[in-house]
C-alpha cells in the first residue's frame, strides 16, 4: 500500500490550491526537492532537482523544509491505523520517496470478504480520509511492492502462485535496486523483470561486482518468493486481540463505552483460556480519517477479569480518546500478559537512574494531566539584556548546562518585571545618580558603581519606532540605609536622545 505524497499532514499549512509546492531537504550539494505536489510536477520540476534550479525555472515555487521526522511519524500513524486490517503492519521507509506500508494479510483476507473487496474497502476508507493510495496483493512483499507502484491499475491482485507472470512486464525499477544497478541493467537492455528470467543467475550476479550483484539476484528471489523477506512491523503484534467493526461510525465516548464491555469479555475469555492475565492493555479506535487513537493502561498485577479491565480503562478516561470524525472499528488488545500467579521483581540499574526515571515519570504524569509542553523550567540563556537572559524551556530530566558568565557583571537577586520608573538627578552624559525617587520615596546614593553599558538586541522587531529599545547604562547603587539597587538609564545622551529623552528605571534590588 502506498500513500501519495499529496496526502499532507493536516497540521501543515497547505499551500494555496494549485500553487507549485515542494518540500526541500538539505544535502551535500545544497537544497534539493524531496517531494512535490501535482502542480509542481506539472511544471516539469522533479524530485531530486536542485532547489536553486527549480527556483530559476519557477520563481513562484513555494517550498518548506522537509521534516523527515514528522513524515516518519505520519507514516507510523497510518501504520497503526492499518492494524485495523492486519495485526502485522510494517512501515516501509527503505527508499526515500517510495515509502509505503506492508500489511501481512496471510489467511486474513476472507475476514473482509475476499481480496478484491479487501482492497476496495481499504482504498475506499483511505480515500474517505483524503489519502489517495495504490494497492496490490501478491504472494511476496516484494511483488506487492512492485505491483502497487508499477501496475497500471490502482488496485492489483497477483493471483496466488502466479507471481512470475504478474511481474514479467514490470520495469526493473520495480525491484527496488540502486540507481547504478538499474543503469547497468539497462545497458544490457534488460528493462523488464521478465527479461531477467532467462539469464543465468550467477552470470548475472557476477556482472554487478560485489554486493550490488548479490542484491539484484536477492531482490529477484524475494519477489519470486524463493527467498523470504522478513518484515519489521511497527509494533509487535499483540498477544491477544479482539475487535469489532461498526456499520455506522461511532461519534462519541458513550458509543465507545457501550461497546467496551463486550470487547473486554471477549478478551478476558481468550486470556482466561490460557491462564494468562493482562499486564498492559490497549484500546485502539480506528478513525474514519485514517488515524488510530489509543488508550493504554498498565496493570501492576496480571488480571483477566473483564470488569476489572473495563473499569481500568474507564478510570484512565475514555474521553481522552480523540475520536475525530468518528470510529469505524474498535480493538482491545493485551500487549503484555503473564501467567496469573507469576511475577518477577523488577531489577533496576542504579538508584540515580531510578530517580531520573522517577523525575521523567513525574514530568510525564504532569504533562498527561496538564497537556504536552505545559511543564517547563527556567533555563539561563545567552543574552546581554538582563530580562532576556533566561528562558522557559520544556522540562526534560537533564537540563543543559548554563552558559559561562562574566563574574564581574553582577546581577541582582530580584529583577522587577516590568522595571519601574524612577526619577533621578545625575550628571550628563553618564554620571552616577546622586539621588533618585522610587515609589515616591527619595533615596540618597552613598555608594555607586557603573555604568555597565548594554546595547539593545537590535534584531528584535519593535512594535513601533517609539518603543524601539535603546542602549542602557546600568548602575549599582547603595542608599544611606544600606539598601542596594540596580538602576538604569535607557538612551544615551548625545546619541539616542534625538527623538526621545533618556529615561530612568529601577531594574531590581540586590540582596
Amino acid at each position: 500500500m502506498r500513500p501519495q505524497p499529496d496526502g499532507t499532514d493536516a497540521s501543515h499549512p497547505r499551500p494555496p490550491e494549485g500553487a507549485p509546492f515542494a518540500l526541500v531537504e538539505k544535502g551535500v550539494n545544497g537544497l534539493s526537492l524531496l517531494a512535490l505536489n501535482a502542480s509542481a510536477r506539472a511544471l516539469g520540476l522533479w524530485r531530486g532537482q536542485a532547489h536553486a534550479d527549480a527556483c530559476a525555472m519557477t520563481p513562484q515555487l513555494i517550498s518548506a523544509p522537509a521534516e523527515a521526522e514528522r513524515d516518519r511519524d505520519a507514516l507510523r500513524r497510518l501504520a497503526l491505523w492499518a492494524e485495523r486490517f492486519s495485526p502485522s503492519v510494517a512501515a516501509d521507509e527503505l527508499m526515500p520517496g517510495f515509502e509505503g506500508l506492508f500489511l501481512d494479510m496471510t489467511g486474513a483476507a476472507h475476514l473482509f470478504g475476499g481480496e478484491r473487496s479487501l482492497l476496495s474497502d481499504l482504498r475506499g476508507r483511505l480515500h474517505a480520509a483524503g489519502i489517495p493510495a495504490r494497492l496490490a496483493i501478491a504472494d511476496t512483499p516484494a511483488a506487492a511492492w512492485a505491483l502497487a507502484r508499477f501496475s497500471t491499475a490502482a488496485e492489483t491482485i497477483a493471483p496466488a502462485g502466479r507471481t512470475r507472470e504478474a511481474l514479467a512486464l514490470l520495469p526493473v525499477e520495480a525491484l527496488r535496486l540502486e540507481a547504478k544497478a538499474l543503469s547497468l541493467l539497462k545497458r544490457f537492455g534488460l528493462k523488464t523483470i521478465g527479461n531477467l528470467y532467462g539469464l543465468p543467475r550467477a552470470g548475472l550476479a557476477r556482472r554487478f561486482r560485489g554486493e550490488a550483484g548479490f542484491r539484484v539476484v536477492e531482490r529477484l528471489d524475494q519477489a519470486l518468493g524463493t527467498l523470504a523477506e522478513p518484515l519489521d512491523p511497527v509494533r509487535p503484534p499483540p498477544l491477544y486481540r479482539v475487535w469489532v467493526p461498526f456499520a455506522e461510525p461511532v461519534m462519541d465516548v458513550d458509543g465507545v463505552a457501550f461497546h467496551l464491555p463486550r470487547l473486554a469479555e471477549a478478551l478476558a475469555s481468550a486470556l482466561g483460556r490460557d491462564g494468562q492475565g493482562a499486564r498492559r492493555l490497549r484500546l485502539t479506535g480506528f478513525r474514519v480519517d485514517g488515524r488510530a487513537t489509543m488508550l493504554e493502561a498498565g496493570l501492576s498485577a496480571p488480571a483477566a477479569g473483564a470488569e476489572h479491565l473495563v473499569r481500568l480503562l474507564r478510570e484512565k478516561g475514555l474521553e481522552r480518546l480523540d475520536l475525530g470524525f468518528g470510529l469505524d472499528a474498535l480493538m482491545l488488545s493485551a500487549e503484555k500478559a503473564e501467567t496469573v500467579e507469576a511475577r518477577e521483581a523488577e531489577l533496576d540499574a542504579s538508584p540515580g537512574q531510578a530517580s531520573l526515571h522517577a523525575l521523567a515519570a513525574l514530568i510525564d504524569r504532569l504533562e498527561a494531566k496538564l497537556g504536552e509542553g505545559q511543564v517547563r523550567r527556567p533555563q539561563p540563556k545567552e543574552s546581554w539584556v538582563p530580562e532576556l537572559s533566561e528562558a522557559w524551556t520544556p522540562a526534560g530530566p537533564s537540563p543543559s548546562p548554563p552558559p559561562e558568565r562574566d563574574e564581574a557583571r553582577l546581577r541582582p537577586i530580584l529583577l522587577f518585571e516590568p522595571p519601574e520608573p524612577v526619577t533621578t538627578i545625575a550628571e550628563l552624559p553618564d554620571g552616577v545618580p546622586a539621588r533618585f525617587v522610587w515609589r515616591r520615596a527619595s533615596r540618597r546614593v552613598v555608594k555607586a558603581e557603573g555604568p555597565e553599558r548594554l546595547g539593545a538586541e537590535w534584531w528584535r522587531p519593535a512594535a513601533n519606532e517609539a518603543k524601539r529599545p535603546r542602549t542602557r547604562d546600568y548602575y549599582r547603587v547603595e542608599d544611606e540605609t544600606g539598601r542596594r539597587y540596580w538602576l538604569y538609564r535607557e538612551g544615551l545622551y548625545g546619541r539616542e536622545n534625538a527623538d526621545r529623552a533618556p529615561t530612568w528605571w529601577i531594574a531590581g534590588v540586590f540582596a
Binding site: Q4, L31, R41, L43, G44, W46, R47, G48, A52, D53, C55, A56, M57, T58, P59, Q60, R123, T152, A153, A154, E155, I157, L169, P171, E173, R187, F188, G189, L190, K191, G198, L199, P200, R201, A202, G203, A205, R206, R207, R209, G210, G213, F214, E218, E382, S383, W384, P403, D406, A408, R409, L410, G450, P451, E452, R453, G455, T471, Y475, R495
Partner: protein, 1172 residues
C-alpha cells in the same frame, strides 16, 4: 585640547571581524580630529595599501602595523619604526603564512594552509628590532597575564606597551587603575586605545552579523559572542580623555608612538630584477640588441624604414622612462617558453604589447605594419606607471611557465598577486540571511534574483518578484545590512597569473603566503595595490585556444607536412573572411558565441582590422554606449558608396571653431569610422575633446577600472560632459561618450587587447577553413574550452565534410587522431591506406598553402568535384584525413589507461580478444587494466574491432573475473561457470544505441536523437531546422530540437538566446523577456523543446543568420524517453475497464509512470551550456 591617536584598529581586512573599510576609518578619524591612526589587521598587511592611499588623500598620518595573533591565542599589535623594521615584519608574516623560515635558501613551503598564519611570540621577538609593540589587555585578566606581560617586556627588543581600552562593564575605573599598576610592575607603560572595530557606532549591526558569519551561527543564537554594546568605534579625543580621566599619560603616549614610527609605504621603492641582463651589459643596450636582432628575423628582406623609425622612437622612450628591464623580463619568459624542445605557444597582449619592440622581441605576432600603433598611447611620460603586458600561454602548459619563473627568480623574489574576493550581492545576501536566521530557501530565492555577479544591492523589484514580503522586519534588516556588506573583502585568492618580481627579497616588501595549490605562493596585495605602489607585474595567463592552435600546427606538420606558426601563417586570405562573413565560426576563437555569430554577417569583416573591431564591438561598453548601430550603419554606407566607386568620408563631431582643431576627433576616431569603440578612444576623447589633464585622465581611467567596486566614476561625468559641451560639442554626443566609458568600467576592452585577440581569431579561422579535420581534432583534444560541447564540434566538422569515426580500442589513442580517409573519399587513398603511417602530403611550402577543398556551406556536404574545380593541381593533393575520436571522449576513462593500451598495441600489435586486452595491458606499477576501464570501453561501444558490440561487449567485460571470487557469492551458492553472452540479451534498437552513445561519449555518430522523433514532430507541424533559412521573413514556423546553449548576455536587456539542434542543423531562437517570463520553466529547464514563432533573417538580408522569435515554447524533454524503448506497458484504452480503476485513478497511474520516468531516464543528453 587633548590630542589622541587611535592605535588599535581593525579594518575589514581582519576578515569577518572589522566592520568598516579602511577609507571609512581614516575619514572618520580625520573628521573627529584625531592626530593619527594606526591600522593593524589580524596577521595581515593586505589592507594597508588601501589605508595608505586613503590617509594620503585626506592628509592623516597613518601607522602601518599588524595585529599578530599567536598560535596560543595571545595577541600583540606591532608598528615598525622604519623601512627595515617593516621589512622584518613582512618577513615574519611570510614565515607565519608559508612555514618557510629561510626564504633565500630553502624553497620548499611548509604545511600551512592558505589563509592561515602560524606564529609564536619567540619568532616575533627574534625579528622585532625596530618594532613598537602594544599588548592589548584582555577584558578579564589575571596574574598569568601579568606574568606573561613581564616576560614579553623583557624579551622584546624594542618598546612594549600595555594597551588598555574601556570595557563598559561598570568597573572601568577600577580596572584601569589595576592595569596602571600592572603597567608599572612590568615596565610596560599603559597606552590608551578603544580597540576599534568600526568607524561609527551604527556599524555595530553589521559587526554583529560578521560575528555570526564567523562563528557560523545566527543572531538569535550568538549570545555572548556578540559585543555587549556599540562602543568599539572611533571616538573623538575629548571622549577618550573623559574615559581615561586620571590616566592622561596613557593618552599622551599614543602621540609618542606616532612620533616614533616614521615609516610610510611611500618609502617602498621598486627595483627591477637584473637576471635578464647579461653581465657587462646595460638593460637598454641589451634590449636594443635583442630588438634589432629580432627585427632582422622578422623582416628578412630588410627592415622597412617606417619600422626602423618607430623602433628607434620606442627605444628612446623606453630608455627615458627606464622600462627596459620590464621588456627584458617579459622577453626572458617568452624566450624560455619558445626554446626548442619546449615550444610552448604564447602571445602577448596589453597596451605595451602592440609595440614594434614587442613584435621584434617575439612577444607578440601582431605585425605592427598592419596597424598604425601609437606608442605614446601606452607609455606616457606623465603616467609614471609600469607598462602593461599580459602573456597568454597554452592552458595545458602554463604551469610549466609559472614554475620556471619561480625557479629563475626564487620564491623570495617572485610571487603571484592576490585577488581580493569581495562580497557580491549574491554571497552577501546568503551570508547575511543565514546570520539573521532567514531560512535557506528564502535566502536562496533572494540570491537567485541576482543575475550575474555585480551590482550594489539586491534590487527591490527583484525581491517583490520572489513573492517575499519586503516589509517583514527581518527581511528588511537583511536587505539593509546586505547593502553594507557588499564590497567588503571576504578573503584573498591568488590572481590568475600576475607575477610580481623584485631585485631584492620580495619578502621584505610584502608578506608572502602559501596558496591553495601546492607549489604556489602569493603576496597579500592585489593588482590595484601594486599599481598604487608602482610595482611591476607580468601576467602569465592561460588560454585554451593557444593549446588548440599548437595542436593544430602539430597535426598539420605530421599529416600534411605543412609547417606553420602564429607569425608565418598566410595573412589576409579572402576566403577565410568569406567564411567568417557567413557566421561559419563554430570553434573559432572569440567569435563563436551566439552574439558574435549574429554580428559577423552584419559587420562583414574583410580585413584584419575589421576583426579587431569585431572582437571589441560585442561588449557591454559599445552596447551600453549605443555605438554598435551607428558603426554598422557607417560601414554599410561605406560599402554602398565604395561599391559605386566613390570615396567615403565622414563628418566628425567638431568643437566650436574658437576652441581649436576641427580634426581633433578625426585623429582619434578615423579608424573606427567616427564611432568610439575602444577604451583608448574613450580616454583620448576625454583628453582631446574634454581637455582632461594627464592626472585627470589617469583618475578617470582608474575610476573606470574600479567602477563596479567603488562607484567613483560619477564625479567625472559632469566634468567630461560639461567641458565637451562648453567646447561646442553636441550634448548628446558628449553624453554617449561618457556612457561608453561607464560601459567599459564593466568589461574594459582596449584596442591593444582586441588586436592580439583578433590575431588568434584569424589564425583559428584560417585553420578551420583550410583544415577542418585538424581543427576539430585539436579542439577536441583541448577540451574543456570554448562555447561548444564535443558533440557540436563533431557535428560541425561533419558538416564540413570531415569523416569522424567512433572510438575503438584498437584504433584510438588517448587524443583524437587523424587517419587515412575511407575508400569512398578519393582515389589515391588505397595506397595511402596501405602505407599506413606513411601518408605524406605533397604540399610542402607554407607559401603554397591552399585549402584542399572549398568551403562547404552549412548543412550541405561539399561535392567531391568541387575540390578540383576550385584549385589547380588538386590531383596531387593529399585528401583530407578522417578524425578518429580518442579514448578521452569516453566518460570516466583515464589517460593512464589509454597510455597503457597504446603502449601494448605498439609492442604487440592489435588486440584480438577481450581476454588478450586484459592480459596484455599493464599500467605503470604493474597492475592490469581495472575492471571499470573495460566496462567503460564496452559501454562506449569501443570494442567493435574485437567483434563485440555494446551489449555483448559489456556482458563479456563485466564477466571477466576481477580477482578472487567474491565470498558473498560463494556464500550464496552463486558459483556457476561463466559462459558466452547469453542469447537472452535483447538486441538494442538504433535509437537506443544513440542514447547509449550520448551517455558514454556525449555524442553519437550513428544518428541524431531527433531523427527518431521526426514523424511525431512533423505531425504537430514542426519543420526541420535546416529548412528554417528558406522560410519567408515573418512567417510562422515551428522547430524542435535539443537545447545546446542558453545564453542571457548581460548586455542584451534580458533577451535569452537558445540554440536548438536537430538532425538537419541548428536553429537559433530568440526569447524576448515577455515570452521568457511566460515560459520560464521551459526555457530554464527543458532539454528538448518545440519553439513556435516568427522567422527573422539577418537585418542586412544576408540570409546567413536566421532567428526564430519565440512565441510559445513547449517542453518535450519527456519525448526523449521514447528513444530508449517502446513503452513498457502500453496505456490501456479507456474502454478497458480494469477492476476498480476510476477515471481519476487511471489518470493518476499514468502520471505515476511519467513521474518515475521523467528526469532520471531523460537525462540522456548532456545539459546545455549556459552563459550569462
Amino acid at each position: 585640547m587633548s590630542a589622541y591617536a587611535e592605535l588599535d584598529i581593525r579594518s575589514n581586512f581582519s576578515f569577518l571581524e572589522g566592520g568598516s573599510h579602511a577609507g571609512e576609518l581614516v575619514d572618520q578619524a580625520k573628521a573627529l580630529g584625531l592626530a593619527a591612526i594606526g591600522i593593524a589587521d589580524r596577521n595581515t598587511l593586505a589592507g594597508v595599501v588601501r589605508a595608505h592611499a586613503a590617509a594620503k588623500q585626506c592628509g592623516l598620518p597613518l601607522l602601518i602595523g599588524c595585529r599578530l595573533v599567536f598560535t596560543n591565542g595571545a595577541e600583540l599589535i606591532v608598528y615598525p619604526r622604519d623601512r627595515s623594521a617593516y621589512g622584518r615584519l613582512c618577513r615574519l608574516l611570510s614565515i607565519g603564512k608559508s612555514g618557510i623560515e629561510g626564504w633565500e635558501v630553502g624553497a620548499e613551503g611548509g604545511a600551512i594552509a592558505k589563509g592561515e598564519c602560524h606564529l609564536r611570540f619567540e619568532q616575533a621577538a627574534a625579528l622585532a628590532e625596530g618594532m613598537i609593540a602594544l599588548a592589548p589587555a584582555p577584558v578579564a585578566f589575571d596574574e598569568a597575564f601579568e606574568t606573561r606581560l613581564g616576560a614579553w617586556r623583557a624579551a622584546w627588543p624594542d618598546e612594549l606597551y600595555l594597551a588598555a581600552s574601556p570595557t563598559h562593564r561598570g568597573d572601568d575605573r577600577a580596572r584601569l587603575n589595576r592595569l596602571a599598576a600592572i603597567a608599572s610592575h612590568t615596565g610596560a607603560p599603559m597606552v590608551a586605545t578603544n580597540a576599534v572595530l568600526y568607524h561609527h557606532f551604527e556599524r555595530r549591526l553589521l559587526q554583529d552579523v560578521l560575528t555570526c558569519i564567523r562563528e557560523k551561527t545566527t543572531i538569535d543564537e550568538a549570545g555572548f559572542r556578540l559585543q555587549a554594546n556599540a562602543e568599539r568605534f572611533v571616538k573623538p579625543p575629548q571622549e577618550m580623555a573623559r574615559l581615561f580621566k586620571g590616566h592622561e599619560a596613557a593618552l599622551a603616549r599614543t602621540l609618542d608612538i606616532v612620533r616614533a614610527c616614521r615609516f610610510s609605504l611611500d618609502e617602498l621603492s621598486y627595483v627591477y630584477p637584473d637576471e635578464p641582463v647579461p653581465p657587462g651589459k646595460t638593460p637598454d643596450g641589451h634590449l636594443r640588441e635583442l630588438a634589432f636582432k629580432g627585427a632582422e628575423q622578422r623582416y628578412p628582406n630588410g627592415i622597412p624604414a617606417k619600422i626602423l623609425a618607430l623602433l628607434e622612437k620606442e627605444l628612446t622612450l623606453i630608455e627615458k622612462v627606464r622600462y627596459a628591464p620590464y621588456f627584458l623580463t617579459v622577453h626572458d619568459i617568452v624566450a624560455w617558453a619558445r626554446e626548442p624542445g619546449r615550444e610552448i605557444l604564447c602571445q602577448g597582449r596589453g597596451s605595451a604589447a602592440n609595440s614594434v619592440v614587442c613584435f621584434c622581441l617575439g612577444v607578440t605576432s601582431v605585425d605592427p605594419t598592419q596597424q598604425d600603433v601609437l606608442f605614446e598611447r601606452f607609455i606616457s611620460e606623465e603616467r609614471s606607471e609600469p607598462p602593461d603586458i599580459d602573456v597568454d600561454f597554452e592552458h595545458e602548459r602554463r604551469e610549466e611557465v609559472m614554475q620556471y619563473v619561480f625557479k629563475r627568480y626564487g620564491r623570495h623574489r617572485a610571487a603571484i598577486c592576490a585577488t581580493v574576493i569581495h562580497y557580491r550581492p549574491r554571497s552577501a545576501i546568503r551570508d547575511v540571511g543565514k546570520a539573521l536566521g532567514l531560512t535557506e530557501d528564502v535566502t536562496a530565492q533572494l540570491a537567485n534574483t541576482v543575475w550575474g555577479s555585480y551590482g550594489a544591492k539586491v534590487e527591490e523589484g527583484h525581491v517583490d518578484a520572489t513573492g517575499l514580503r519586503r516589509e517583514d522586519p527581518r527581511l528588511k534588516l537583511a536587505l539593509e545590512l546586505t547593502e553594507d556588506l557588499i564590497r567588503f573583502p571576504r578573503h584573498l585568492s591568488q590572481h590568475v597569473g600576475g607575477f610580481v618580481l623584485t631585485q631584492g627579497p620580495l619578502t621584505e616588501t610584502v608578506p608572502i603566503g602559501n596558496a591553495a595549490m601546492d607549489d604556489r605562493t602569493f603576496i597579500e596585495w592585489d593588482k590595484d595595490d601594486i599599481d598604487e605602489l608602482k610595482i611591476m607585474k607580468v601576467d602569465v595567463l592561460a588560454l585554451g585556444m593557444l593549446t588548440a592552435i599548437r595542436k593544430s600546427f602539430v597535426l598539420m606538420r605530421e599529416h600534411y607536412g605543412v609547417d606553420l606558426d602564429l607569425a608565418t601563417l598566410p595573412r589576409e586570405e579572402p576566403r577565410v573572411y568569406d567564411m567568417l562573413c557567413k557566421a561559419d565560426s563554430l570553434g573559432v576563437f572569440q567569435v563563436e558565441s551566439r552574439a558574435q555569430m549574429s554580428m559577423l554577417p552584419r559587420l562583414r569583416p574583410r580585413t584584419f582590422y575589421d576583426l579587431v573591431v569585431e572582437v571589441a564591438i560585442v561588449r557591454p561598453g559599445p552596447i551600453q554606449g549605443n555605438m554598435v548601430h551607428p558603426y554598422l550603419n557607417r560601414r554599410s554606407e561605406k560599402r554602398a558608396v565604395e561599391a559605386k566607386g566613390g570615396a567615403y568620408s565622414i563628418a566628425f563631431p567638431v568643437p566650436s571653431p574658437e576652441h581649436g582643431d576641427a580634426d581633433e576627433l578625426k585623429r582619434v576616431l578615423g579608424k573606427t569610422l567616427g564611432v568610439p569603440l575602444f577604451q583608448e578612444q574613450a580616454m583620448r576623447i576625454a583628453m582631446e575633446a574634454a581637455k582632461f589633464s594627464g592626472d585627470e585622465a589617469n583618475g578617470l581611467r582608474r575610476a573606470m577600472a574600479t567602477f563596479r567596486r567603488n562607484g567613483t566614476i560619477g564625479s567625472y561625468e559632469d566634468m567630461m560632459v560639461s567641458r565637451m559641451v562648453a567646447r561646442g560639442y553636441d550634448p548628446e554626443f558628449a553624453q554617449n561618450c561618457f556612457s561608453q566609458i561607464k560601459g567599459f568600467g564593466d568589461y574594459g576592452f582596449p584596442e591593444s587587447h582586441a588586436a592580439a585577440f583578433a590575431h588568434l581569431v584569424y589564425v583559428s579561422a584560417w585553420i578551420k577553413w583550410a583544415y577542418p579535420e585538424v581543427f576539430a581534432a585539436a579542439l577536441l583534444n583541448s577540451q574543456p574550452m570554448g562555447f561548444y560541447a564535443p558533440a557540436q564540434i563533431v557535428r560541425d566538422a561533419k558538416d564540413h565534410g570531415v569523416e569522424v569515426r567512433h572510438p575503438d580500442v584498437n584504433e584510438s589513442d588517448w587524443d583524437c587522431t587523424l587517419e587515412s580517409p575511407s575508400q569512398r573519399e578519393g582515389t589515391s587513398d588505397g595506397e595511402a591506406g596501405a602505407s599506413g603511417e606513411g601518408l605524406r602530403p605533397l604540399r610542402q611550402t607554407p607559401t603554397a598553402v591552399t585549402p584542399h577543398r572549398p568551403l562547404a556551406t552549412q548543412g550541405s556536404p561539399p561535392s567531391p568535384c568541387g575540390r578540383s574545380s576550385m584549385e589547380k593541381g588538386s590531383s596531387e593533393e593529399a585528401p583530407p584525413r578522417a578524425v578518429r575520436l580518442g579514448l578521452r571522449q569516453i566518460d570516466g576513462f583515464r589517460e593512464a589507461w589509454a597510455v597503457a593500451i597504446m603502449a601494448a598495441r605498439a609492442t604487440g600489435g592489435p588486440f584480438r580478444s577481450l581476454d588478450e586486452l586484459k592480459a596484455r595491458v599493464m599500467l605503470e606499477g604493474g597492475a592490469g587494466l581495472p575492471g571499470h576501464a573495460l566496462d567503460a570501453l564496452a559501454a562506449a561501444d569501443a570494442l567493435n574491432s574485437l567483434d563485440l558490440t555494446r551489449r555483448p561487449g559489456l556482458w563479456a567485460a563485466r564477466g571477466i573475473p576481477g580477482g578472487s571470487t567474491v565470498p558473498l557469492f560463494a556464500f550464496a551458492g552463486l558459483e556457476e561457470a561463466d559462459g558466452p553472452p547469453p542469447p537472452a540479451l535483447p538486441v538494442a534498437p538504433l535509437s537506443e544505441e544513440v542514447v547509449n552513445d550520448y551517455e558514454t561519449i556525449r555524442l553519437s555518430l550513428k544518428a541524431h536523437p531527433m531523427s527518431f522523433l521526426r514523424k511525431r514532430m512533423a505531425a504537430v507541424g514542426v519543420m526541420p531546422a535546416g529548412q528554417l533559412k528558406d522560410a519567408p521573413e515573418n512567417s510562422r514556423a515551428a522547430v524542435a530540437g535539443v537545447v545546446l546553449v542558453r545564453q542571457r548576455p548581460g548586455s542584451a536587456h534580458g533577451v535569452v538566446f537558445m540554440t536548438l539542434e536537430d538532425e538537419t542543423g541548428v536553429a537559433n531562437a530568440i526569447v524576448w523577456p515577455k515570452a521568457f517570463e511566460r515560459f520560464r520553466p521551459v526555457v530554464m529547464g527543458a532539454r528538448m523543446v518545440i519553439v513556435r514563432g516568427l522567422v527573422q533573417h539577418a537585418p542586412d538580408g544576408a540570409g546567413y543568420v536566421t532567428h526564430l522569435v519565440a512565441q510559445t515554447i513547449e517542453d518535450r524533454t519527456a519525448d526523449l524517453a521514447l528513444l530508449s524503448a517502446p513503452p513498457l506497458n502500453p496505456p490501456r484504452s479507456h474502454g478497458d475497464g480494469a477492476a476498480s480503476a476510476s477515471a481519476d485513478s487511471r489518470d493518476r497511474s499514468t502520471r505515476e509512470h511519467e513521474r518515475h520516468r521523467h528526469p532520471r531516464d531523460a537525462r540522456v543528453l548532456p545539459r546545455s551550456r549556459d552563459f550569462h
